[in-house]
């Protein structure tokens, strides 16, 4: 039995000609043999998994499910058909989800549920964020495995806790040093047998 290959820690994307983050995805329904590759824009204003034009979905064998309503940016709602399908990324990553079939939008969008399903965090570098020397080798869009993100956050939290403990210890040490260095108060003559009165 062959072992499952490890998931890639990061999946790279790019900037679409519109300036939006994008990546290549494969989409299919009942059989992966029907899969086709598409360019998908990562739209964090979209809460779902995948939204694609209905006509482009026809050859993919998606499983029609039913209807739903989506809330548009102006607060109005619109009725959409929904289907079940799969998205595949590089490195053998595949997830199933609800696909919204659009009749008027020409772009393919992946949303927040896409990131949740793939357990990935989106890292987007602005044009000025990457040093000139690194621009040829650094991708502007990276989907990082959440396990790595958790490890980084844990390391940051531990470093912050240690820094707070060190600061508290330093303050305690400084306070004790101050107490030890303070001049002694004058004792009464009766209490001091070595003192001489006139």
């Amino acid at each position: 039995m062959s072992a499952t290959p490890p998931e890639p820690p990061a999946v790279a994307g790019y900037l679409h000609k519109s300036g939006c983050p994008a990546l290549k995805i494969r989409v299919w329904g009942v059989s992966e043999t029907l899969a086709q590759e598409f360019e998908a824009i990562v739209d964090t204003g979209f809460s779902g998994f995948l939204s694609m034009p209905m006509v482009q979905a026809f050859p993919l064998g998606l499983v029609l499910f039913g209807t739903t309503k989506v809330v548009l940016a102006d607060g109005s709602t619109d009725t959409k058909l929904t289907a079940l399908g799969n998205i595949g990324l590089e490195g053998g990553l595949n997830k199933a989800g609800v696909i919204i079939l659009e009749t008027n939008i020409s772009e393919i969008l992946v949303g927040v549920d896409f990131l949740n399903q793939f357990e990935r965090s989106l890292v987007l570098f602005g044009e000025r964020a990457i040093p000139q020397a690194l621009r040829s080798s650094t991708k502007p869009l990276i989907l990082i495995d959440n396990k790595l993100i958790h490890a980084v956050l844990d390391a940051i939290r531990e470093a912050a806790e240690k820094a707070a403990q060190d600061k508290a210890r330093a303050q305690t040490d400084a306070a004790q040093l101050q107490i030890q260095s303070a001049p002694e108060t004058n004792a009464s003559p009766e209490a001091d047998p070595t003192s001489q009165s006139n």
Binding site: G45, A73, T79
Partner: protein
């Protein structure tokens, strides 16, 4: 096979019927107990199912109502999903009868 329900003539009719059934039979209970979860209404049986994730509620609904015609709702929200474009961008050719 039973004849198709004449009320279910187009997707918008399915959606409207699903919303009506949900409002009449399930909204109060679901918004009290399952706020934020995804609900699916089988408009042929008026049965509802709920789960925290849309894929999960679809799986449950298809297992229990293999012949169902479904409408998905997010409990407490106007729509199951939000999109970043406006009605104007979507154009006038909405999914309607």
């Amino acid at each position: 096979m039973a004849p198709p329900d004449p009320r279910l003539t187009d997707p918008k009719a399915v959606a409207d019927l699903g919303e009506k059934i949900y409002a009449e039979k399930y909204r109060e209970t679901y918004e009290r107990d399952f706020l934020g979860q995804f609900a699916v209404i089988d408009v042929t049986t008026e049965q509802a199912y709920h789960a925290p994730a849309p894929e999960e509620v679809i799986r449950i609904a298809r297992e229990r109502s293999p012949q169902g015609v479904f409408h998905m709702i997010r409990v407490g929200e106007a729509g199951a999903f939000r999109v970043s474009y406006t009605a104007r961008a979507a154009g006038s050719r909405r999914l309607s009868a």
